[in-house]
C-alpha cells in the first residue's frame, strides 16, 4: 500500500472521483496549471483540462456563488478557498445561500458543493493564514463540516463528501499537510461522514480533538501513558453531524473529558461539546469538562506557539482532569 501525505491523499481522492464521475469539477484561485498553492490539485489540469479544472478570478464570493449555480445545474463542484482566512467574502453565499437552498425551496433544489479549504496555525502564517473558523459554519443549519486528521481519512472522507447530497465544508489542517503520512489504499474507499474514530482506547479520561490537534494530543498522551495514565482519545472527524453517541458513551465510561481545539475558546466547538456532555452524561461526570484551546485574541504571528495548544498544556489539562 502506498504511503502518502495529506496533500497526496486529497489529490488522489480528487483524481479518483473526477475519473469516476464526469460531473465533478474543481475551481478556485491558482488551482489549475499551478496545482494550488499547497499543490492539492496538482496534475488535475493536465488530466482533466480547463473545463473541469477552473482557474477563477480572485473573488471568493464568485467562486462559491458560481459553484452553487453549477450544483443546481447538476454538476458536483469542489471549489477550493485558498486559505480558510479568506473565506469570509463568500460567507453570505455559504451560510445564506448554499446551506439554505434545499430548505428554502421546500426541498425542490439541492446544492451539493464541497468546499475544500486549508485551515489552522503552526505554519508561521499570522492572522490571515492561520485561522480555524469552523464554529461559524457548524453554527449554520444546512451545512456539514468535516475535518480529517490523517491521510487515510482525508481521502475516504473527501470521497464521501463529494458523493453526499448536502453542502459540505471540508477543512484541511495545513500544518500537517506534509507532516502527516500514512498508508492510503490506491483503490476507491470511503470513510463515513458523521462517525468519530477511536484513536486510543482508555479508561480514565476522554480526550476529544480533530484535525492537526490530534497529533499534538498524541504527543501529550504518549508521555502520560509512559507515566501510567490511561486516556481515551477520539478523533471527531465530522463536527456536524456530530457522532454524539461515540462521545457520550466514552464519557460515560471514563467520567472525565478534555476538549482540544485551535480556535478561540468562547463559543468554540469545545463549548458545544462541553454542553452536550453536561446534558447527556452529567451524572457520570467526576470532573468539570476542561477546554484546551486557542485564546480569544486574533491569531498572533510571533507568539503562535504560545497561542496554540501544545503537548504540555494538553497533558497538564488531562492530568488535572484525571486528578480532580
Amino acid at each position: 500500500m502506498p504511503v502518502m501525505n495529506m496533500i497526496q491523499a486529497v489529490n488522489d481522492a480528487l483524481k479518483l472521483e473526477m475519473r469516476r464521475d464526469d460531473r465533478v469539477v474543481v475551481l478556485g484561485e491558482d488551482i489549475g496549471k499551478f496545482g494550488g498553492v499547497f499543490r492539492a490539485t496538482s496534475g488535475l489540469y493536465e488530466e482533466f483540462g480547463a473545463d473541469r479544472v477552473i482557474d477563477t478570478p480572485l473573488a471568493e464570493a464568485g467562486i462559491i456563488g458560481s459553484a452553487i449555480g453549477m450544483a443546481l445545474y447538476g454538476l458536483r463542484p469542489v471549489p477550493e478557498i485558498q486559505f480558510a482566512d479568506f473565506i469570509y467574502p463568500a460567507y453570505d453565499q455559504i451560510v445564506n445561500e448554499l446551506a439554505k437552498f434545499r430548505y428554502r425551496s421546500g426541498g425542490q433544489y439541492a446544492a451539493p458543493v464541497v468546499i475544500r479549504t486549508p485551515y489552522g496555525g503552526g505554519i508561521r502564517g499570522g492572522h490571515y493564514h492561520s485561522q480555524s473558523p469552523e464554529a461559524y459554519f457548524v453554527h449554520t443549519p444546512g451545512l456539514k463540516v468535516v475535518i480529517p486528521s490523517n491521510p487515510y481519512d482525508a481521502k475516504g472522507l473527501l470521497l464521501s463528501a463529494i458523493r453526499d447530497e448536502d453542502p459540505i465544508l471540508f477543512m484541511e489542517p495545513k500544518r500537517i499537510y506534509r507532516a502527516a503520512r500514512g498508508e492510503v489504499p490506491e483503490d476507491d474507499y470511503t470513510v463515513p461522514l458523521g462517525k468519530a474514530h477511536l484513536v486510543r482506547a482508555g479508561t480514565q479520561v476522554t480526550v476529544l480533538a480533530y484535525g492537526a490537534m490530534l497529533h499534538v494530543v498524541g504527543e501529550a498522551t504518549e508521555k502520560l501513558v509512559e507515566q501510567g495514565l490511561d486516556p481515551e482519545v477520539i478523533d471527531l472527524r465530522t463536527l456536524l453531524p456530530l457522532d454524539t453517541e461515540t462521545v457520550i458513551e466514552s464519557v460515560k465510561k471514563t467520567g472525565r473529558a478534555v476538549v482540544v481545539h485551535e480556535a478561540p475558546r468562547t463559543c468554540g466547538f469545545g463549548a458545544e461539546l462541553s454542553a452536550l456532555i453536561m446534558e447527556k452524561a452529567f451524572l457520570h461526570l467526576e470532573a468539570p469538562v476542561a477546554r484546551v484551546t486557542g485564546f480569544d485574541t486574533p491569531f498572533p504571528y510571533t507568539l503562535e506557539n504560545e497561542y496554540l495548544p501544545d503537548a504540555a498544556r494538553i497533558a497538564d489539562a488531562i492530568r488535572r482532569t484525571v486528578e480532580y
Binding site: G62, S66, Y73, G74, Y109
Partner: protein
C-alpha cells in the same frame, strides 16, 4: 454603447422602429398581454388582502410588468430564470399556478415551499424558476454558475438573472459580471432600473451615467431598453440570447422603468419621494402602451379587454378561495425536513423535544 433608451413603441402604441419589431405570433402577443394584466390584477387583489390582514406581506410590480414577460417570453423552457422578488410574471408565463402562488403567500399547508419563507419568495423547480433570496444580488453569481455548468456540459442553455439597480452596488454583481466576462458565459444580466431601492434613489447607487455602462469594465455589451415596452425588451433579449447561444457570452440589459408602488407592503414612499413622480409614469404604463399597439393591429378591442379582465378576476377569486380553504399550517415535522437530504440524529432529537415540550396557547395561532 449609447445613453439612449431603445423603444420599439411610443406611448401611444405606434411602432417607431418597424425594423426592430420582433416577430411574435398573434396568440403569443395576446398571451403576453394577458400575463401582464394578470400580474396587475393579482397585485391589486393581494395588496388589498394584505391591508385587510389576510396576508402578512406583499410586493407589487405595478408599472414593471413588461420586464417579466419581455424577459421570459424569448427564452426556451430549458433556460433558467433567477428572479429577484419583483418578477412573478416570469413564473406565470412558464406555468406557475395562481393557487400555488397564493398558497406560497399564505405559507399554508399547501405552500410549495412548505411555509419556509416570507411571501413572494417563490421557488418553482419544474419551470427552472430558482428559489428567491431576500439579500439583494446574491442570485447573480449563482446564475453565472448555471451558465458556466451549461457551457461545461456543452448545452446551449442560457441563464437569465433579474435584479434591481440597487443590486448593481453589491459585490455579488461585480464578481458575477467579471466571471461571466472572463469565461464568456451564456448569461443575461437583467437590471430593472426602477429608480428606487426602498427609499434610496438611483443617484445614490452609482455616479455612472447609466447602469448599462458598467458592462464596459467587464468586457461585455451593455444595452439600455425601455422597461415599459415589452416589444423593445423582447428585441434586446433576442439579441442577447443569440449572442449567448452562439458562444459570444453575456449581456447586461438595463431596463429603464419606474417603481410606481411602494417597495413592499411595509413601505411608505410618501416619506421620501414626490407623489407627482409616480403619476408622471402612469402615462408610460406598459400595459396601456401594449394594449394600444394590439388595438392598432386589430388584435384587441375594448370588449375583449373587458372580457379578459373579468376572466382573470374570476380565476384569481377562485384560486384565492381555494387557497384560503386550505386548513392550517404545514405540520411541525416539516420544520426539520430539508435542512439536509436526510434528517440527522440531532434534528430528530430536537423534533422530539419540540413535540413533547409544553407550548403557550398563542404559539398555535
Amino acid at each position: 454603447m449609447t445613453n439612449e433608451v431603445f423603444s420599439v413603441l411610443d406611448d401611444d402604441g405606434n411602432v417607431l422602429h418597424p425594423e426592430h419589431e420582433p416577430t411574435i405570433a398573434p396568440e403569443d402577443l395576446l398571451r403576453i398581454y394577458r400575463g401582464m394584466l394578470l400580474v396587475r390584477l393579482m397585485d391589486e387583489r393581494m395588496l388589498r388582502l394584505q391591508r385587510q390582514g389576510r396576508l402578512g406581506f406583499y410586493m407589487t410590480s405595478t408599472g414593471e410588468e413588461a420586464t417579466h414577460f419581455g424577459g421570459a417570453y424569448p427564452l426556451r423552457d430549458s433556460d433558467w430564470i433567477f428572479p429577484s422578488y419583483r418578477e412573478p410574471g416570469a413564473a406565470f408565463w412558464r406555468g406557475y399556478g395562481l393557487r400555488e402562488f397564493i398558497c406560497q403567500l399564505m405559507g399554508n399547508a399547501e405552500d410549495p415551499i412548505k411555509g419556509r419563507q416570507m411571501p413572494v419568495h417563490h421557488s418553482v423547480r419544474r419551470i427552472n424558476y430558482v428559489s428567491i433570496s431576500s439579500p439583494v444580488g446574491t442570485q447573480i453569481p449563482q446564475a453565472v454558475g448555471v451558465a458556466h455548468a451549461a457551457k461545461i456540459r456543452k448545452r446551449d442553455d442560457v441563464a437569465l438573472v433579474y435584479f434591481g439597480e440597487g443590486g448593481t452596488s453589491t459585490g455579488a454583481f461585480h464578481v458575477a459580471l467579471n466571471f461571466a466576462g472572463v469565461f464568456k458565459l451564456p448569461v443575461i444580466f437583467f437590471c430593472r432600473n426602477n429608480g428606487w431601492a426602498i427609499s434610496t434613489a438611483r443617484e445614490r447607487q452609482t455616479a455612472a451615467r447609466t447602469f448599462a455602462a458598467k458592462a464596459v469594465a467587464y468586457g461585455l455589451p451593455g444595452v439600455r431598453v425601455d422597461g415599459n415596452e415589452v416589444l423593445a425588451i423582447v428585441s434586446v433579449m433576442n439579441q442577447a440570447l443569440a449572442r449567448a447561444r452562439g458562444g459570444a457570452g453575456a449581456t447586461l440589459i438595463e431596463a429603464v422603468t419606474y417603481r410606481r408602488g411602494a417597495h413592499s407592503s411595509s413601505d411608505d414612499p410618501s416619506v421620501y419621494r414626490d407623489p407627482s413622480e409616480p403619476k408622471k409614469w402612469e402615462h408610460h404604463d406598459p400595459i396601456g402602451r401594449f394594449q394600444r399597439y394590439l388595438e392598432r393591429r386589430g388584435l384587441m378591442t375594448a370588449q375583449l379587454q373587458k372580457q379578459l379582465q373579468e376572466e382573470i378576476g374570476g380565476q384569481i377569486t377562485a384560486a384565492l378561495k381555494s387557497a384560503e380553504a386550505v386548513p392550517g399550517k404545514p405540520p411541525i415535522e416539516t420544520m426539520f425536513a430539508d435542512v439536509f437530504a436526510h434528517v440527522p440524529p440531532h434534528l430528530l432529537e430536537q423534533l422530539e423535544q419540540l413535540q413533547q415540550a409544553p407550548r403557550s396557547e398563542s404559539t398555535h395561532h
